[in-house]
Amino acid sequence: MVKNKKLVTNKTILNKLENSINRKKFLTAMGITAGSASLNCVRAPIEKIVPYVVRPPHVQPGIPTYYASSRVQSEGINPVLVKTRDGKPIKIEGLDDHPFSKGAVMGDTYATIWDLYDADRFKTPLKKGGGTYTAAKWDDAITQAKSLLTGNVRVISRTSYSPSESSVLKKFLNRYNAKHIVYDPIGAQQELATGNEKSYGKGLIPRYAFDKADLIVSIEADFLGTWIRPDVFTKQFSSRRNPDKNMNRLVVAESIMSLTGANADTRLAIAAGTHVTFALGLAKELLPGSMLSGSTDINKVVSAYTPDVVEKVTGVPASNLQSLAAELKAAKGRSMVVGGGATSRDSSVGALQVVINLINDILDNNGKTIFTSAAIKETNDFSSQEELMALIAEMKAGQVDALVVNRANPVYDLSMAGFGDAVKKVKNVIFIGEKHNDTSIAANLILSSSHYLESWSDGETMGVYSVCQPVIRNLFDTKSPGDILLALAGEEGDFHSFVKQAASKYLGSTGAKAWDKLLADGYFVYQKEANQGFSRINPSSISSVKAPSAALKGYRLNLITSVGIMDGVNGNNAYRQEMPDPITKVTWDNVLMVSPVLAKEQGWKTGDIIELKGQNAKVEVPLVIQPGLRKESMGLAMGYGQYNMSNFSEHLVKGSLKKGELGVNAGLFAQVAATGYLYSGISVTATKVDKEYRLGEAQKELSQHNRYLARVADLKDYKKDPKSGHFEHKLEGKGMYVRHPHTGNRWLLNIDLNKCTGCSGCVVSCYSENNIPTVGREEIWRGREMSWIRLDRYYDYSSEKEKEKDVNMLEPNVHFQPLTCQHCEQAPCENVCPVAATQHSSDGLNEMAYNRCIGTRYCANNCPYKVRRFNWFENWGKKLKDPQQYALNPDVTVRSRGVIEKCSFCIQRIAEKRQEARVENRKISEEDLRTACQQGCPADAITFGDVNDAKTKVSQLEKDARSYKIIQEVNTMPMVTFMSKVKNKA
């Protein structure tokens, strides 16, 4: 946690925020550094300074103000710290002292800054008339809405973690006697809650403590990337990835390579659609000798899944299953088995979870690693499949008079269930949301809701009450979702006081002091964590579980979620789209993941277009060869192909396969059953289509060619020799020149590859901090992504022997390596710049003066790490849609066309802190300073600091046996150290 004085002092005055004004014209530094600037004779363009009439005391020009807030969404609460400059939020950061997140935030939350300044947002409420929407006044809109809400009213929304919003909604439902349908687009939460309800009678989502488990087994649950709370889980998981201190072990059984599978110490590739078989097989192995071994209910179901059957169905060798079971038995009470995610969606909701519960019960993990106290979600408020089907039937029958869609996109999310057709039969559809989506375009009335940075709201999860406070006045004529529902419910007052009231219940006080403290901290712990777990499972719950007991034939498709886009609700965001998927490295598209062996057999290659046919769906989709898949398993990410995604600037989506669409709607392939949706093992056919396609693939090479870039060792070997897995070229002699002394500060960045999960949070955080432009699919196809820090991903083998053994590329080592400018002491780039635009500073930074750069790109060529980026076109200027310019960081020059840019080690942060320290007559300290990537890493893999000071954490890490620098043989002397990965292979 940065003990930021400003943070503490400024936070207390936030409740006066209503005064905060969006008044001062923000003069964004548009770095069109005209040639005229170098000639004395030409005057710079006229610039106006407009001061406040009355400057609010907490808005100090030139000094950032930080607000603690929370992003409340249907996946949970993301505690955030919002950095504002001159009244504008410019950067989202994690809230470091938050009890459960501890500062962890995933990339998709960093990207929300562009949701706020999205030009595609609704600017006003909209009324439909004659097929087009016209702007409306709020009073009219509310009056009209009230008049529409008659008869049979239905409300559809996703789940909510906000107690205030829920209670407002309740008031609304009561007033109109409406029925509320809650659905889960991905299904992970619903599967979990329903499964638990079946097993324990308690439909809650428990609190997982990954940091307490020595052995974690995940079956299809991508808990580091997409499952339930990846940010929190990543923090917990990575805290145990220290090979010197009781390192944990992760075993993942999954069909499609996920972020979690990529980080597994042992990954068992199972065939698509067979995860329940695997779970049952595991349960069978574990059952003997346990307290539940006598249960006939269980034995009846489990007995069929012998290791041999499991091997036949899933492809996992029987011996592997048995040894995993033995390992789990040995780690009783210290282990955790999780399962779920979109892929686990079953025709009977919660099937996998029931088996998982059985396993955890056998292993006595409840109350030890899985807790019901301070649970993630206390109740199962999801509507059952029957209720949902009933609603659709009702709608189709024309029995629904008014449908209120509360910040959801059911037309897309439930496309396989025919919601799109059904909604046409509804007389009046009222849509509450920020921007258009597939559902909003069917609405008669659109009530424009505010972004979370403009709204009051709250949330509760894991025993923590969090508040969401506005940090900027509404940019457009919008209202917070709470206010809209309040107005529709006909209640007096505003949502702010409503939240205040709700908070007082948690705070146990209505005093201003407690409220102010809540605003300053952003959270309040109302329920202490306790070691309380589920009781024993109900053995009969398992009897309904069915799983394939024979191998599934033909191509089998799994629907998965991608880290960047998730369910796609916030897909209209260039940061999310441009962040390469950590696994496939594809941007701006979802792709069909195909196993290497199948691709080889069929003669397919990455980028080919495949016509994928399912029961009700047919799409054309580009393919990507993905190691780690069984031969006939295929994966396709959900969340793409939505209406709002076509709304980007032209240049970003140039060359879409289908004009106006970004990716394809994978949900169409899901199979609808009376009791659930089947998202896995869907039988499909795939044929290659002869089409040229420019796939925005950020990394095209799979292997690191034994170059020891990302290094890995087995824990056993590491214990014997900490330098295991390393290889260094020997450099002899002292070199020709005397080295520069670099006294004073000397900055060094350390990246612990053992902690890094590859989630790409650093990438998005860096984009947001450093005004990095997004360039779009075609430019990325050309190889022109602009990321200053990129996440390299490799699939490799520890030895040639292993490589030969694994011909199908099922179990490669997956490496993630965040790569950024190495700030080499002997930087090859500096030598070759003819105009001295890049040179070394006294504190060891490789500096880049954009305004001196003429763009020879020689430096980019001569960089062995290839981390320099060139502005091939004018990336800002006209391409910036108002009000996106406000998202830019005013401390970082916006680069014009024709100049090189690269990681600066966040020199603006260094400069700010250095100047601050100088004004305060002290030395710049380690606590002062964090780079954007460091702060953006939920896994704490990145450390930054002064290596000349022996006491700092980086100087200690630099001396660690695992630390190494890459491409040393060129004698660049990088100032970035990596710490090798250690795999805990049983």
């Binding site: 407009v50 001061p51 009439v53 030139g62 000094i63 040179q839 500073s841 500096e847 003066a849 020059t893």
Partner: protein, 187 residues
């Protein structure tokens, strides 16, 4: 003299190019029309108001801070510009301030005079720290770049504020933290 025109042309071309690159910057003497006729001469000169009274954030922020109208009103609620011969004129100005700005809740749109290019990151605070000796008037520090504003009825730019100007000073103050790295100002 046949050679005369040749020589004259050559000299003119050289001088012209020299003027382009080394001539006094056009910025010097830049004194645009401001929306409101505020006089530094009166406030800072005659009444010796310290710079930091109005430019209050200068010692700790990047920006010196253009005062809001409320800062003017701190005094001008009471003081109506009563002194000397300029009384009438001063009154007019204060009436302008009252009626056109304060009451309309409007801030004057000042034209920036000391306008750094977009690729320069300048922060006032460390400069004040280095230049302002303890116990002295703020003016002693400000004067270095802004000239003696206290003597200006209409503020104009006095120094070129080009990179050479900055560097000269940074070299002089190297011991006080003046940096000559490019990244000190360009990032």
């Amino acid at each position: 003299m046949k050679k005369a025109p040749k020589i004259i042309i050559t000299v003119l071309v050289v001088l012209g190019l020299g003027w382009l690159f080394f001539g006094p910057a056009k910025q010097i003497g830049y004194a645009p029309d401001q929306p409101f006729a505020y006089s530094h001469l009166t406030h800072a000169g005659k009444y010796q108001i310290d710079c930091q009274y109005c430019h209050s954030t200068v010692s700790y922020s990047k920006s010196a801070g253009i005062p809001g109208v409320n800062v003017c009103m701190n005094c001008h609620r009471a003081v109506l510009g009563l002194s000397g011969t300029a009384k009438k004129d001063a009154n007019k100005r204060i009436m302008d301030l009252y009626s056109n700005y304060w009451e309309k809740k409007k801030a004057p749109e000042w034209v920036r005079i000391h306008n750094m290019p977009d690729h320069v990151r300048f922060s006032h605070a460390p400069h004040i720290k280095a230049l302002l000796k303890p116990g002295q008037e703020s003016k002693t520090a400000c004067i270095r770049c802004h000239g003696d504003v206290a003597q200006m009825e209409v503020v104009s730019q006095v120094e070129s504020l080009n990179m050479g100007f900055c560097l000269n000073c940074h070299r002089e103050y190297e011991k006080d933290g003046g940096r000559t790295n490019c990244g000190a100002c360009h990032h």
